[in-house]
């Protein structure tokens, strides 16, 4: 059973492509939506509010992004209506080795997992919807 809708937030085009390809390859999700910034992600989530079914079930969030980092996104996400937050699960995806980054990410109530890049079949299988 795969996810209906997954959102990938990453400024790196290759990583967006890679995630999208991997997911379709392993039928991880029906609809893989990608945005290249945290601002775009917030906009997208807000635009989905009227139609809750259009919200992504899973959000893959990169940390190191220009202008608004993954952590900044989490702060803004916190301000969103409960309806949205109830629907979405966030997975942090980063190549950062800083233990602080990992701790900070997992300290957020909305972050389900911290994963190191690159995304792989093995890692995706850990997230397979039951």
């Amino acid at each position: 059973m795969s996810y209906k809708k997954v959102l990938i937030v990453d400024d790196a085009a290759i990583d967006r492509l890679l995630a999208k390809k991997m997911m379709s390859k392993f039928s991880f999700a029906t609809d893989v939506h990608t945005v290249e910034s945290a601002m775009d992600a917030l906009d997208m989530l807000k635009s989905c509010t009227p139609i809750p079914e259009s919200l992504p079930e899973l959000i893959f969030l990169d940390i190191n992004m220009p202008q608004m980092s993954g952590f900044d996104f989490l702060d803004e996400y916190n301000k969103l209506p409960e309806d949205i937050k109830k629907k979405c699960v966030i997975v942090m995806l980063s190549s950062s080795l800083h233990p602080e980054d990992r701790d900070r990410a997992l300290a957020s109530p909305y972050v389900y997992k911290f994963m190191s890049k690159p995304i792989s079949a093995e890692k995706l299988s850990e997230l397979t919807k039951i």
């Binding site: 790196a12 290759i14 990583d15 890679l18 390809k21 991997m22 390859k25 190191n64 980063s94 190549s95 950062s96 080795l97 800083h98 233990p99 190191s116 890049k117 690159p118 995304i119 792989s120 079949a121 093995e122």
Partner: protein
Amino acid sequence: MQSKPADLKYHLELSQRMANIGSWEMDLTVDDQDAPQYWSDETFRILGYVPGEIVPTYSAFLNSVHPDDRKEVIAAAEESIRHAKKYDLEQRHLLPDGRTIVTQSVGEVIFDPKTGLPIKLCGAIKDVTESKQAQEALERTGKEMQTLFKNIDEVLYSVDMQEYRVLQMSPACEKVYGYTVQEMTDNPLKWFEVILEEDQHIIHESDPVMRRGDTVVNEHRIRHKDGSIRWLGGRLTPTLDETGKLIRIDGVCVDITARKEAEQALLDSERKYRTLLENSSDGIVVTDRNNSVLFASSSMHRITGYAPDELPQVDIGLLFHPDNQDAMISNLENLFNKPGETARFVSRFRRKDGNWIWLEGVTQNLLHEAAVNGLVTNFRDVTDRIEYEEALRAANVDLKKTNDELDRFVYSVSHDLRAPLASLSGLIELTATETIEPELLEYLTMMKQSVQKLDGFILDILDYSRNSRLTVNKEVIDFHELLKDASEHLKFMSNERSGVDVRWRVSGDTPFQSDNSRLKMIFGNLISNAVRYYNVHEPQPFVEVTVLVSEKEAFIKVADNGVGIDPKLHDKIFDMFYRVSNKSVGSGLGLYIVKEAIEKVDGTMEFSSEPGVGTEFRIRIPNLTG
């Protein structure tokens, strides 16, 4: 020519009374002890009677004699009569009034000139009780003096200065000099010969004094017969003859070594403490309740610029910096009522030249010590140290800032280096899913390995950098979590584990604290190594980690049945960038980081390894809990 006295009997009576001598006569022709005899009045009185009170008879006389002496008296009288001898005897009497007296009697027999037979015994009697007692007392005193002379610790002596002869010397000389009285007397110069040469002048100087007739008191050292040096104290009293010539010296001398040594010890001690006090680089000052200076060591002058004579007029409290003054004053006031208590201080102080210096010191309330009666402050100039500390603190802040920046920089760089590698690695994996071409798949595997090697290298550089720079943390360690993490993130390796069984056992539920990131480096590298260098000929390759936690330490054993390490390389494997062969896939930093990380957490490590059998690392990490 002279006239004849009117009454000879009167003269006799008078003489007898004045001399206390009585006379008597016994008729030897009558053989009756109770026959009346003649006693002079004084004889009556001596024997305790009023003259004429009783009839004077031989038996009355014998009755008055003390029973113990009676036999002797009778024997003497008979002896005298029989051999016509004079007798002279002392005997005791018991008088009617109860007194006991001693008399001396002399007697003489008078013979009939015609017949030659004894007819009378004539005698005189004298009460010698008092002189007897006086003599006894004298003898007793003499004996006591003798005992004293023999037993006192002082040497008493007399020297005849005309013949230069020791007249007497008390036996204490054997103790004081070590020589017997005989030895001291045989050589009358012995006492001088034993005096230390450097002290002999003391004796020479006293010679003219004694010749003037003055008593001399001196102290000098001698060499005792046993070789030891003793201090003697002497007092010499000279006797001059009528022409003023010194004829005799009486002296006393005593061993005063103990007293001298005590005095010397006191002097030495005083000198020692004064020297210490004056040579101490620390300043020492004694103040009273009004902060007036009672005493200041010479270093006080050097440190503060105030000469000792300027200080008594200065209220020392006012010389401290206004910022520190209140604290200083309340500090001292606190001390006043607490005898023996001490208080520390660090404060700025204005030198006489106006410059501010930092003083650090300790003040102790010794008001109750009579010898001190003040507050004693030991202090030193710590200006250089305080300034140095300030500079160090500032440098430390800078350094910490730099370090933090560097840490962030290292992370950023490692992230920026790893991000494209991750992308590349992902693309390789994706590509591999797109083809079944064996040659292409082989290339892709090689590409992936290269990427992983580079990634591992970045991880090692990061570990190395963090280990050398970061302070050691103290945090609760979850060994299970650490081991799980290490076994999941094997370095320099594709995800398959070549079938190596990674297992671990943690025992002891004592809380353990140490530095988590260092332990992670240690486990990560050792487990990765063990897996990487597994023995292909081994049917069941494994790496087994055993952790035994105690209050003192964690004992960690990482054992495998891998290829093992050639004994020739045992002392090289911990070197930086050392790699066993070109086939080694690592960076050559792994074991170096392990060694460095163990040093950082104050741990120890030993290992044993045998090619074809396996390797075992034994590590002890102190528990920082508590």
